[in-house]
């Protein structure tokens, strides 16, 4: 096993990857997420978000409070389609999209 400092266990994103990402000009957590894929695995950021954000603040010399988290979306944990399908209202999601129009979390 080569020496690597892992920040995101799910997607194999290392401290070097985040440093590389910052040198390419990505300083925002959403940009780092999209460039490296961190936080997009089974843990959905539970293990890595605070760790990456803290390192990102250090690397970009920003105060920690300036680093906003990435958007949290359901499901919060891997969930079977069978469970989601057991909700009768899930079968009319096309209508819901119209209902929610204009009031969604960005």
């Amino acid at each position: 096993m080569a020496d690597k400092t892992m920040l995101c266990r799910c997607e194999d994103v290392t401290l070097d990857d985040v440093e590389h990402c910052v040198t390419r000009g990505y300083r925002d957590i959403e940009e780092v997420k999209r460039y490296t894929g961190f936080g997009t695995g089974p843990c959905q950021g539970k293990e890595c978000l605070a760790l990456v954000a803290t390192e990102l603040a250090r690397l970009t010399r920003q105060p920690a409070r300036a680093i906003a988290p990435f958007t949290a979306r359901p499901p919060l944990t891997p969930t079977t389609l069978g469970v989601l399908a057991s909700d009768p209202s899930a079968h009319r999601f096309a209508d819901d999209i119209d209902d929610v129009d204009g009031s969604r979390d960005p």
Binding site: E47, G82, V100
Partner: protein
């Protein structure tokens, strides 16, 4: 390298379960999860990672990290630490060929020693790109699809969703959530507590200063007050009412979200108040090879001792973050000191080092190609400490994505563990009707969290009692 404490062997030597792990028979106790049983059997490598095919093993033992994802009876991507041992189960590793211990794809880790930027992988001739594309597709993906012919039927039907109306829903059944539940239920309000773990008790069960007696006491108090407590019930999201992000429904899954759908039921919970008592997630620290099997969260080492009577290793190095100050850091170190004493009392050798002094974690074998057991930790001053297990003492990261989904304001504060939910002196978040208590507001430790939970309960009770019996919709709809 891991062993049971004496008291356990006397208690339950008769209750054993046999299952198959990567072709080997493992004998476990009935109270074990597959992950704790595997650790005890000395089998720390459970799967391989997605990209570099590095060995993966359990880290958090609380169902949050992805270290212990395995295939159980043909169902892929199940967390071994959240699955209780069942007789004759078949557990297989994932993402490895031919085996998790020797995976030829592990070569990727060595070829890309300095890392792999997948954005620049396909910049050559288009014919070569086609080849690379095929290879990448063959390599990627997490596990394999379930096989219909195995014990799991291809199609399962979940029972219909259940809608529940309560005065207060509390997400998290740890020290703060249980204390709040007792305080809110006592005057007669309806309280539902949801907790995703196999057992209620939260951080009581990870902290040797408290342990199961404290958890059982808090559970009994909350139940005696009339609160309804559900373990193995995972909140999967907060769904806003159409047109109103500030009102919505909590969806939770009884039986665990990744249980087969036939074994779980969806709950849709309407509540007058939401109380986030979700605590924190076991966190890692940045040092070389911090993902190696055998590197465990100190919280996990505590949980193994408290909940399973397992001493995780014979020679243990605890790595502590020396860069953090403040009350949260002092509290986590008090907890770690108690853990260290307890491990030493059970025959383990323990030494603590600062993360800034750590150069890397190494195995004794050649480049870690065949053997994966930790042999030593190398320090920056050239010193090498022989050990078999690493325990990472880091502030738990506040479990704040549920509150974030609801719109609650959070703040990144590394000195309390991460994105802590911002609350006022009355426990109120930035969302009307939503409160937070305990470690999700920044690490406090079990004792302070329980006190805070009780205090917030009084606030919520007073507010609800001051309202009309039937709440009138305040948004005019």
């Amino acid at each position: 390298v891991a062993h049971r404490t004496g008291e356990h062997n006397v208690d339950s030597s008769t209750e054993s379960v046999r299952f198959t792990l990567a072709g080997n028979t493992v004998v476990a106790d009935r109270g074990d999860s597959y992950a704790s049983a595997a650790l005890l059997a000395g089998k720390r490598v459970l799967s391989r990672s997605l990209k570099y095919h590095r060995p993966r093993g359990a880290f958090c033992f609380e169902g949050h990290c992805s270290g212990c994802l395995v295939r159980i009876n043909g169902v892929p991507n199940v967390r071994a630490c959240q699955a209780p041992c069942r007789p004759d189960a078949t557990i297989e590793g994932q993402n490895a060929f031919p085996s998790t211990n020797f995976d030829v794809l592990g070569a990727v880790d060595h070829v890309y020693r300095a890392g792999m930027d997948h954005h620049t992988l396909m910049t050559s001739a288009s014919v070569l790109n086609l080849v690379v594309n095929r290879v990448v597709r063959a390599l990627s993906g997490l596990g394999k699809l379930p096989q219909p012919s195995e014990t799991a039927p291809a199609v399962t039907t979940a029972s219909a969703a259940i809608v529940v109306d309560v005065d207060v829903v509390i997400i998290g059944g740890g020290p703060s959530g249980l204390a709040a539940a007792a305080g809110i239920a006592r005057p007669g309000l309806s309280v539902l507590v949801l907790d995703e773990q196999l057992e209620l008790g939260g951080s009581y069960l990870t902290d040797v200063r408290f342990g199961r007696p404290a958890a059982q006491n808090a559970i009994a108090t909350a139940e005696a007050a009339g609160a309804v407590l559900l373990a193995q019930t995972t909140v999967i999201g907060y769904f806003a009412e159409p047109g109103n992000i500030r009102r919505g429904v909590i969806h939770a899954c009884v039986g665990g979200s990744h249980a087969r759908s036939s074994e779980s039921t969806l709950l849709k919970i309407n509540a007058r108040r939401w109380l986030w008592a979700t605590g924190g997630y076991a966190a890692n620290l940045p040092f070389a090879n911090n993902d190696r099997p055998g590197v465990l969260a100190a919280r996990a080492v505590g949980r193994l001792l408290v909940a399973h009577n397992i001493v995780a290793g014979d020679r243990m190095v605890m790595i502590v973050d020396g860069n953090r100050g403040g009350g949260a850091s002092s509290e986590i170190r008090r907890s770690a000191n108690a853990l260290s004493e307890s491990l030493q009392g059970n025959g383990a050798w323990v030494q603590t080092v600062a993360v800034d002094d750590v150069a890397s974690v190494s195995t004794g074998s050649l480049a870690g190609l065949v053997g994966h057991d930790i042999a030593s930790i190398e320090l920056r001053n050239g010193q090498s400490i022989a050990c078999d297990t690493i325990a990472v003492i880091a502030l738990p990261a506040p479990a704040s994505e549920g509150p974030r989904m609801q719109g609650c304001e959070v703040d990144l504060d590394p000195d309390v563990g991460g994105y802590a939910v911002v609350i006022d002196a009355r426990g109120r978040t930035s969302v009307r009707g939503a409160y937070a208590t305990g470690d999700v507001t920044g690490y406090q430790g079990p004792a302070a969290a329980a006190l805070h939970g009780s205090a917030i309960a009084s606030v919520i009770v007073a507010e609800i009692q001051a309202e009309q019996p039937v709440e009138v919709s305040s948004d005019g709809r």
